[in-house]
């Protein structure tokens, strides 16, 4: 009888570590020679570039509002131009002593915008709140009531004007866009073709031509003797423009509602408007929130164009602040960087929000 002694085979090596920073660097920066080379090259360029940028923007920067110091040899960025001019850049030509009014008005409107993005505020009274806040906004900005002095709209400017143009055109274009989107899917040929022509016409031309139309042609359109404020004309122009783009987004949402839903509604005996209001729109609008948000972001950026028809919103106010003062004019770049940062903060947070909404909407589909 043979006895066999138990001989264990050699133990396997521990698995390669796939967690922790070391493993991450190995997988993402030094995986093979190509990746390592790319890491080396890009890392080298960054190591060379970033200190220089930091040196210019922070270490050697001049923060005090002193243009002689800015012109000294070896001086970096001249942030003094912001310290000196930030009131004009942000509030434009609004009377200096009264600038608390646009500040309060802007904070109110921004607060409302942020609140409108939160689910707990999606109640029936939200549109009412919008009306109230807009009324307060105009009362504060225009004055002439409650002992506030009157400030004509041509003196409005800067960030308040940017936010006003963007949010008001969004609010006003939404119902219009809804009707146009429904019209493009209507069975009635005349209404359908009118809506299609409108959308394609507007989407085919640049915003700047619509703004030129608003500032040069609208006065001709009105009956003789009627003068409409330039701010209102531009607002109407941007609204008509934004409506065409929003209509396309909403139409996409309408198309995504399964046909069975409409047929089921018809079987239940609902009328056209009942079907739209109770069955189609609730489903479609939930899907288009990210798209509408993206439209809002591009409208927000597009408001910078009104500076071409001489309304001094943020970009225009910046040029106004620096071009009128020869001492500070050489530091335009710093001014542009400052307002670029303001735009960036607004647009980036809105795009994050839109991204969040998208994941929320998709979550209900994954269920």
């Amino acid at each position: 009888m043979n006895t066999t002694t138990f001989q264990p085979i050699a133990p396997r090596p521990a698995p390669v570590n796939t967690e922790g920073p070391v493993a991450w660097v190995k997988a993402n920066l030094l995986a093979d020679w190509k990746t390592s080379l790319a890491t080396l090259v890009i890392g080298g360029v960054l190591l060379w570039l970033v200190p220089q940028i930091l040196n210019w923007a922070i270490v050697k920067a001049v923060w005090a509002a002193n243009y002689d110091a800015c012109r000294a040899d070896g001086a970096g960025a001249c942030w003094g131009v912001i310290t000196e001019k930030y009131r004009i850049i942000i509030f434009g030509r609004y009377p200096f002593e009264e600038q608390w009014r646009p500040l309060v008005a802007t904070l109110l409107l921004t607060g409302l915008l942020v609140a409108s993005c939160m689910r707990m505020f999606w109640r029936a009274w939200l549109p009412l709140l919008w009306l109230v806040v807009l009324a307060v906004f105009f009362a504060l900005m225009y004055g002439n009531t409650l002992g506030l002095s009157k400030v004509e709209t041509d003196r409005w400017g800067g960030l308040p004007l940017t936010i006003l143009l963007a949010s008001l055109s969004l609010v006003m274009s939404f119902p219009l866009a809804l009707l146009i989107a429904l019209g493009r899917r209507s069975n009635l040929p005349a209404i359908r073709s009118f809506c299609t022509i409108y959308v394609e016409l507007i989407r085919g031309v640049p915003l700047i031509s619509v703004l030129f139309m608003a500032s040069f042609m609208f006065p001709l359109f009105m009956p003789p003797g009627v003068n409409i404020d330039v701010l209102v004309r531009v607002l109407v122009g941007i609204t008509l423009f934004a409506a065409a783009y929003s209509a396309e987004v909403i139409r996409g949402g309408l198309q995504a509602v399964p046909k069975g839903q409409v047929e089921a509604a018809a079987t239940l005996g609902l009328s056209y408007w009942q079907t739209q209001r109770k069955i189609v729109l609730p489903q479609a609008l939930a899907m288009v929130v990210p798209g509408i948000m993206n439209n809002f972001i591009s409208t927000f950026k597009d408001t910078s164009l009104v500076t071409i028809v001489s309304l001094y919103e943020l970009t225009g106010a910046m040029s106004l602040a620096l071009n009128s003062d020869a001492n500070w004019r050489p530091f335009t770049i710093e001014g542009y960087i400052f307002i670029a940062l303001i735009y960036f903060v607004f647009c980036f947070s809105m795009s994050r929000y839109s991204h969040w909404v998208e994941t929320q909407v998709n979550k209900s589909k994954l269920r």
Binding site: N28, A190, K301
Partner: protein, 391 residues
């Protein structure tokens, strides 16, 4: 006749959907034409009161202003319609170049988001987030300031080989026109034909046998070789008109103005960030199983991308890409802000000189409408070719 078909409903009552539809449409048409009539009536009335002339006859009058840059010579004595034509060519020049450059850059950035190198991924992400969240007008203005104020004067222009970069723009050598260049063009024609024939053969071979042949590089090589051969046959002229530093500016050679460069860079960098997102979305829309199946079949990463992922991604990419091309073309109208003489800028000058707002603005809109429709048609045609034929 004992057919069971119900009698045709021809009832003109409020209960009939068709009748109500007709009424709604009549109301809509009346309302719209009423509004149009109201606006047109007011416009005519206003023009009469203010003594504004109307009509397109001014297009034949002498323009009376100079244009900073044009593809062909233009002087102020020529007619307005010639000035408009210069504007249109300037717009198309910057738009076409911008579309090509933005597509290349955007594709690289979009594909870079899938890199295995974290630095490349991070860089592409920060580029996209940075450039698409700042208004394009602001970017144009910034580039213009950088190009005209930060750059050195012509006397200390930055020199790279035969290229000069200074406040005056970019100067580059251009070949001197001679018959040799014409021969290169003669060589190009058979080259194009040969390249196209080869490509068609390669595609057919691929579809018949699955044998992969070069479908882009080799045909391109054929075209280039043919024109080089033509150029050599024509006597191989190598004379260039090189720029050099003059007393006040860079002289000779070809030149790109700072305005053109600013518009081109601004539009390209801005649109590239959007195209990168489009490309990324397209690639990530291809089902993950497709890539896994490709590696299971033994395709390497390059083949997997070219033969499996990209053809499917293209279907998703092309429609939004078309939108980005249209956006770039429309955004080129912002050139008016920095004085590049595009069609909007010319129309603006003409408007200020003649006061014919309606005519000038309609001309601009017409130009953009035609360009947009043309691009749409072209891209739709390409899309119908790239779309996967489903049985």
């Amino acid at each position: 006749m004992n057919s069971n078909t119900p009698p045709k409903k021809n009832n003109w009552s409020w209960r009939s959907q068709a009748f109500r539809g007709l009424i709604y449409q009549l109301i809509a048409i009346t309302a719209i034409s009423g509004v149009v009539w109201f606006l047109a009536h007011n416009t005519l009335e206003n023009m009469r009161v203010r003594g504004i002339q109307s009509g397109f006859d001014f297009l034949n009058q002498a323009a009376g202003f100079d244009i900073g840059e044009s593809l062909y010579p233009f002087d102020s004595g020529e007619a307005y319609w010639r000035a408009f034509l210069v504007g249109v060519t300037n717009t198309l020049r910057v738009a076409v170049l911008g579309i090509i450059l933005a597509t290349v850059l955007g594709t690289l950035l979009g594909v870079g988001r899938f890199s295995r190198n974290a630095l490349v991924r991070g860089l592409c992400l920060s580029y996209v987030e940075f450039f698409r969240n700042i208004p394009v007008l602001l970017q144009l203005l910034m580039w213009y300031v950088i190009l005209t104020e930060v750059l050195p004067t012509a006397a200390d222009a930055w020199t790279v080989g035969p290229l000069f970069l200074s406040k005056g723009g970019l100067n580059y050598p251009i070949p001197v026109w001679s018959t040799g260049q014409l021969w290169a063009a003669y060589g190009l024609l058979p080259g194009l034909l040969l390249g196209w024939l080869y490509r068609r053969w390669a595609v057919r071979q691929f579809e018949a046998t699955g044998q992969v042949r070069s479908m882009v590089l080799l045909p391109l090589l054929i075209v280039v070789l043919a024109s080089v051969a033509g150029w050599a046959l024509g006597g191989a002229p190598t004379e260039f008109n090189r720029p050099f530093k003059g007393d006040f500016s860079i002289e000779n050679g070809g030149a790109l103005t700072p305005e053109f460069l600013a518009v081109l860079m601004g539009l390209t960098l801005y649109t590239a960030s959007f195209i990168a997102e489009v490309v990324r979305g397209g690639i990530s829309s291809v089902a993950r199983g497709q890539g896994e199946a490709a590696s299971a079949l033994g395709l390497n990463r390059k083949q997997e991308m070219r033969l499996v992922m990209l053809p499917q991604a293209l279907r998703v990419i092309i429609p939004p890409l078309t939108n980005q091309y249209l956006n770039l073309t429309k955004n080129s109208s912002l050139a008016v802000a920095i004085g590049y003489p595009d069609v909007v800028s010319i129309a603006n000058t003409a408007l200020n000189q003649t006061g014919r707002a309606v005519e000038c603005i309609s001309l601009v809109m017409l130009v953009y409408l035609i360009t947009s429709l043309g691009t749409s048609l072209l891209m739709n045609w390409y899309n119908s070719r790239a779309a996967i034929k489903e049985r």
